[in-house]
């Protein structure tokens, strides 16, 4: 026989109602409560007080039972097969409608997808094209830079070639690096050679006048710069350009001398 009052005073019944006892402790309290009406009365009073306290903490009276009822009923319906025949055609139509809708939606998505794919292909093609252009531009830039470096080199001598009687507007320039034996000839100022003719560049020594062929400028106008790189190991004192038959000549045709310039000593 337990001391009922001491048991009540221990405060275990409050914790029992709170639900904070272990399962074993709760089972024990439940057993005793069932045996002793005094304990049961005490538990019910504690519970009544706590329910009032908890209700007071509710911000408002909760919504009525219908909202719960609607939810439990819709849930119960989930697993039930309807016996009513009326629902079958409705469901069937709905099914067909859904299928048609789906088909339309899929078809639409498919055409959209194709359009997008085409767009992507076009854009990719354009990109490749642009990349090619950039590559060419970079190469050009590099060439130009290299050329500019050459022309700016302190060892390079610039020799302007002046116009002769045959073409008073013509001009050309030679840039010559004696150290490396490289020369560049700029013929942008020469008229385009007639068909079957080419320009030929000559290195001249003046006393006595001896011409040496440096190059036949048969690549004229291929890249538009009209600037040619030529080996010049000669001890040139002057340069001249003549118009010659295709393939060039062994000695210059002096009547066809277009430009001429002397190397400054």
């Amino acid at each position: 026989m337990i001391d009922i009052q001491a048991y009540i005073d221990s405060g275990v019944l409050e914790l029992y109602v709170y639900g904070t006892l272990s399962e074993a402790e709760s089972l024990e309290v439940s057993r005793l409560v069932a045996l002793h009406p005094e304990l049961k009365a005490e538990v019910e009073q504690i519970e009544a007080a706590l329910q009032q306290l908890a209700s007071a903490a509710a911000p408002y009276t909760p919504s009525n039972f219908e909202s719960i009822q609607a939810k439990i009923q819709s849930k119960e319906g989930d697993g039930v097969i309807p016996l009513s025949r009326k629902r079958i055609p409705a469901a069937t139509y709905l099914g067909w409608a859904a299928a048609v809708l789906l088909l339309v939606a899929v078809g639409y998505q498919f055409t959209e997808k194709q359009k997008l794919e085409e767009k992507i292909t076009t854009i990719e093609r354009e990109q490749i094209l642009q990349e090619g252009k950039i590559l060419i531009a970079e190469e050009d830039l590099q060439k130009t830079k290299a050329l500019l470096d050459v022309l700016r080199d302190k060892d390079v001598i610039a020799v302007p070639l002046g116009a002769q009687a045959i073409a008073p507007e013509a001009y050309a320039s030679i840039y010559w690096d004696k150290e490396t034996g490289k020369a560049y000839v700029d013929v942008r100022g020469l008229p385009t050679p007639p068909k079957g003719k080419v320009y030929q560049l000559w290195s001249l020594t003046l006393d006595p006048l001896t011409p040496t062929s440096m190059a036949v400028l048969n690549q004229y106008d291929t890249d538009g710069t009209q600037l040619f790189e030529i080996e010049n190991p000669n001890a040139s004192e002057a340069f001249g350009i003549t118009l010659e038959p295709e393939g060039g000549s062994a000695s210059p045709t002096l009547e066809q001398l277009y430009v001429l310039g002397v190397v400054e000593p």
Binding site: D9, S10, G11, V12, E14, L15, Y16, V17, Y18, G19, T20, E23, S26, L27, V29, S30, R31, A34, V43, E44, Q45, I46, E47, A48, A49, L50, Q51, Q52, L53, A54, S55, A56, A57, A58, P59, Y60, T61, P62, S63, F65, S67, I68, Q69, K71, I72, K75
Partner: protein, 177 residues
């Protein structure tokens, strides 16, 4: 009085019994949920979840293990604490301010007919700070004695008796003795 008949019918899936139980317990369960969440919309949502869960698991209630109210309380606290981990709860900064149930009671003006409003107001006036904390943790948040002792830094052996004194005061002002 615990409505044993009603609970038995509820366990046999009697909807009208369920409706009566809802009538009896929904407000106090909402109070517990709200004291954890401090958010009306979320609390209402959790309240509905709790009762739907109770309905779906009605057979799992066993009167030999405890009170029906206690059973609902445990479901409610767990659901409310689960909710505190949800995005919608965390996104609301207001929820982060931990409020005691007494703060809610002090702010509240209209009480339902189920509550002795005058008694509750009186109770708040006489309630010692330690009582507020003990009841907040043990009842509203479902802490164990050990967790409560650690949280409040008081001896484990005194938790139970201290709480008893606090609840006795409540019963006195409400006249439930």
């Amino acid at each position: 009085m615990q409505p044993d008949q009603l609970i038995a019918r509820f366990q046999q899936r009697d909807e009208s019994a369920f409706a009566e139980l809802y009538e009896r317990y929904s407000e106090n369960i909402l109070g517990v949920i709200y004291s954890v969440l401090h958010d009306q919309e979320l609390s209402e949502e959790v309240l509905q979840d709790v009762f739907i869960k109770a309905w779906n698991n009605a057979s799992s209630y066993n009167s030999q293990k405890g009170r029906f109210f206690t059973w609902l309380l445990n479901i409610a606290r767990n659901a409310a604490i689960d909710k505190t981990r949800s995005k919608s709860f965390k996104n609301n900064k207001q929820n982060q301010n931990a409020a005691f149930f007494v703060d809610i009671l002090e702010d509240k003006n209209d009480f339902s007919s189920k509550v002795d409003a005058i008694g509750i107001k009186k109770y708040i006036d006489v309630l010692e700070p330690i009582c507020k904390k003990v009841i907040h943790l043990l009842f509203f948040k479902g802490y164990t004695q050990k967790e409560t002792a650690e949280e409040l830094d008081i001896p484990l052996g005194t938790v139970k008796t201290r709480n008893r004194i606090c609840i006795n005061k409540l019963r006195n002002v409400l006249g439930v003795t």
